[in-house]
């Protein structure tokens, strides 16, 4: 017996390509079956009254390492805890982001584990695939990634990972200036994996070659990459001006100054900026000193993470809905743009936009109810409510 249709009535529906006010969505069988301002309510439907709120697609986080003191690699329970936490920040889909390990088997084990959780479901935000940020990075721009876990570019390894993941490795971060970089990128593209330019201290020309080889994505733009100089445009110059490249942005206001966030939006436009949290295990935790990758000591202070060993910023701890809010408050872009950068753009970058990323008839009912300040009141994944704040009704 199938469950009854769900109807959500909102003050405003941000699709995000159009704004419908008032907006109603009808959900049946986990999918959106009708949208509009005047939609008939099917008989027997369960009605969610959000007529003081905004209905938007759920956020998709292509770059996240953990939350609530846990890293994904710890095991299935950690993955589920993190996934449920993500749902509370308006996220409906994400790529658990795994890193390098001392051995190939050390990398395959967490991949198999995540694949298994993906099959069984998380009870929170949905796992849309895996992002490997590492081991194919440059030791010259490591960030907080341990240099001793970086490995030579080896497509046979990736094939083993993809087999372990059952085809669910969607995104691999690559420093294209490492030996064999261009051939590696071409092979990843042939395997259907999105290539993200990451952690690289190389020049503009090398990035253009990487884009020609098939890279379409830039990992946390500005961070871990050579900057823009007016006579040597560097990695940043290439990302800002190559329109085929989707550019990740950590919009916590700390990793990238608001003026530099603005520059990225001005150069790339509303269709090519992808907001990501790059959240570490310290997301959702109180201030203090924590254990980071490779035993580094990480201090969390006023939401900012810093490695006590190197002094460098060590991932972000800001919730996704706060990042979206920052785009409106710090950069001054309209809310529909900010939502698009956190939903449709990440889905498009991964090639998942046939079913994900926007409120459209036929797509999965992955959606959120928020207010103007991007506070989250309800998170729904494939038609199932996975988050509602305690003691809060959807309507105010």
């Amino acid at each position: 017996m199938s469950s009854p249709p769900i109807v959500i009535q909102a003050r405003q529906l941000i699709s995000p390509l159009e704004v419908i006010a008032p907006g109603t969505a009808v959900i049946e069988g986990g999918k959106i079956t009708a949208l509009g301002s005047r939609v008939p309510i099917p008989e027997g439907a369960q009605v969610i009254d959000a007529r003081d709120r905004i209905l938007a697609p759920g956020f998709i986080d292509n770059h996240v390492h953990g939350a609530l003191g846990h890293w994904f690699a710890e095991g299935p329970e950690a993955v589920r805890k993190i996934a449920r936490f993500r749902a509370s920040t308006g996220t409906t889909g994400f790529l658990p982001t795994l890193g390098g390990a001392a051995t190939l088997e050390g990398m395959l084990e967490p991949i198999r584990m995540v694949r298994e959780v993906m099959r069984e479901g998380t009870g929170g935000a949905e796992i849309l695939g895996i992002h490997m940020e590492g081991p194919y990075l440059s030791p010259r721009k490591p960030g907080v990634n341990p240099v001793d876990l970086m490995r030579p570019l080896d497509i046979a390894e990736v094939e083993a990972m993809q087999e372990a993941a059952d085809g669910n490795i969607r995104l691999v971060s690559v420093a294209p200036d490492e030996e064999g970089g261009m051939a590696f990128i071409r092979s990843l593209r042939r395997m259907g994996i999105v290539v993200g330019i990451a952690h690289t201290d190389t020049d503009y020309e090398t990035i253009l070659q990487a884009v020609e080889a098939g890279a379409t994505y830039a990992i946390h733009t500005y961070n871990g990459m050579r900057g823009l100089h007016h006579r040597a445009p560097g990695v940043v110059g290439a990302v800002l001006t190559c329109d085929q490249v989707f550019a990740e942005l950590i919009a916590d206001g700390v990793h990238v100054h608001p003026a530099a966030m603005d520059i990225l939006v001005r150069c790339k436009g509303r269709d090519r900026v992808v907001l990501v949290t790059d959240n570490s295990a310290m997301a959702g935790m109180s201030d203090g000193i924590y254990q980071g990758f490779g035993g580094q000591r990480i201090e969390k202070k006023e939401g900012v993470l810093r490695s006590l060993d190197t002094g460098s910023i060590a991932g972000s701890a800001m919730a996704f809905n706060e990042d979206v809010r920052n785009m409106v408050k710090l950069v001054g872009i309209p809310l529909p743009w900010a939502i698009q950068m956190a939903s449709l753009n990440p889905a498009r970058a991964l090639g998942l936009d046939a079913h994900k990323g926007s409120l459209e008839v036929g797509k999965d009912a992955d959606l959120i109810v928020i207010d103007e300040d991007v506070n989250v009141y309800l998170t729904m994944v494939r038609g199932r409510v996975v988050y509602q704040p305690t003691g809060q009704q959807v309507t105010s």
């Binding site: 823009l228 006579r231 110059g237 290439a238 800002l240 001006t241 530099a260």
Partner: protein, 391 residues
């Protein structure tokens, strides 16, 4: 002068792209612009047909120190000589760029007497309110005072012609001077400074509306310290100059500037020096040796990656526009806009120049797709005609 009707296959006004168009000129002003089918040419008008060529507003160069072996500071006759040389580049309005009272007086005299070439509707003062460049091996110099009394001497010498006044926002007294520049009706420009984002933005609050050669001799953008470049890229209140010769700023960085600010907030300038128009070689100016090689001039002995070591640009404006089209991928119409209407606006002269519109001065350049210049008309008079010109 009477009536003149000039026809061409294309006119970039630059706000419109008109095909088979005509510009009607009466004396020194434009009387009408439109498609030939719509504009009645008076019977008593002289008619010239430039065939397949493109008519555009004459170029407005708001930052140019001289050309063909000569500085604008060398006296009124030299200023006129430079103005006549500039006519062949399609430039019809030149803000002669100088930095001292005597030079200002000389430019004023040349402007009033007429040059026989490019008009001089204003002056851009690049100096003396600049932060000293810190190049290795150069003696340390203190930042000069942003001296309001000195500014008033210059303003008086300029007799209403000073349109742009440079001031580094980190000089002592800079904010007061910027406010005074604005109060006296001149455009305040941020120039030659390595200060930070916050200081630049305070300067904008004080009234900065123009930025001298964006990226060059300026603190660069870092993603956590945006500096002046980050301020210019994101602040819509200011127009940024761009030396578009392809050497001062990499085409990708030009692209970034244009993406961030748009065609109405980026103006091309030549920053031309006497080496423009001269062959490669070693030249000596005021005790400095400058080496010109492959179109770039650099102060002798400096590392070529060092910002501030280039000694101005040596390329004419039409070359720069072709660089924008060819290397950056800008449409010709938009490149023309950045060299005409945008600089005219930032200099406060758009009422009279910068576009082909009725009532404005009849300042016209006849070019081709590669921005070769065939004819230059200043205030209704032909001041330059290439030998290869059709008519």
């Amino acid at each position: 002068m009477g009536k003149l009707a000039i026809k061409a296959a294309r006119v970039l006004t630059p706000l419109q792209d008109l095909r088979d168009a005509v510009v009607l000129i009466e004396d020194d002003r434009i009387a009408a612009v439109g498609r030939q089918a719509n504009v009645t040419i008076p019977e008593d008008a002289e008619v010239m047909d430039f065939g397949d060529r493109i008519m555009v507003p004459g170029f407005v160069d708001v930052h140019n120190h001289g050309a063909n072996g000569r500085w604008a500071r060398e006296g009124p006759e030299v200023v006129k000589e430079i103005a006549r040389w500039l006519a062949q580049t399609g430039t019809t309005s030149w803000l002669a760029t100088v930095g001292d009272v005597e030079s200002i007086k000389a430019v004023v005299q040349a402007s009033r007497e007429g040059t026989g070439g490019t008009a001089i509707p204003g002056i851009h003062c690049e100096g003396p309110f600049l932060a000293p460049k810190k190049l290795p091996g150069q003696p340390y110099r203190e930042k000069p005072l942003a001296d309001i009394a000195l500014y008033h001497q210059m303003l008086e010498a300029g007799d209403g012609l000073i349109r742009i006044m440079d001031c580094a926002p980190d000089l002592p007294g800079a904010m007061e001077l910027i406010r005074e520049i604005v109060r006296t009706g001149v455009s305040a420009s941020c120039a030659h400074s390595k200060t930070d984002y916050a200081t630049f933005m305070r300067g904008v609050e004080a009234g900065i509306r123009h930025v001298t050669h964006t990226y060059n001799v300026m603190s660069g953008m870092h993603h956590r310290r945006p500096n002046i470049v980050g301020g210019v890229l994101t602040c819509d209140a200011v127009v940024g100059e761009l030396i578009a010769d392809g050497f001062h700023v990499h085409p990708v960085a030009m692209d970034v500037l244009i993406r961030c600010k748009g065609f109405d907030k980026v103006c091309t300038v030549t920053d031309s020096t006497p080496l423009a128009g001269l062959p490669d070689g070693e030249y000596h100016f005021r005790g400095r040796t400058v080496i010109k090689k492959n179109g770039i001039s650099r102060m002798a002995g400096f590392d070529e990656t060092q910002d501030g070591s280039m000694a101005g640009s040596e390329w004419p404006v039409n070359h720069d526009l072709w660089t924008l089209v060819d290397k950056v991928g800008v449409r010709l119409q938009d490149a023309v806009r950045m060299a005409t209407l945008t600089p005219a606006s930032t200099a406060g002269l758009a009422k009279d120049i910068g576009s082909l519109e009725p009532g404005k001065y009849a300042d016209v350049a006849v070019i081709d797709e590669r921005v070769n210049v065939y004819v230059t008309i200043v205030r209704g008079e032909i001041v330059y005609r290439a030998e290869s010109c059709l008519s």
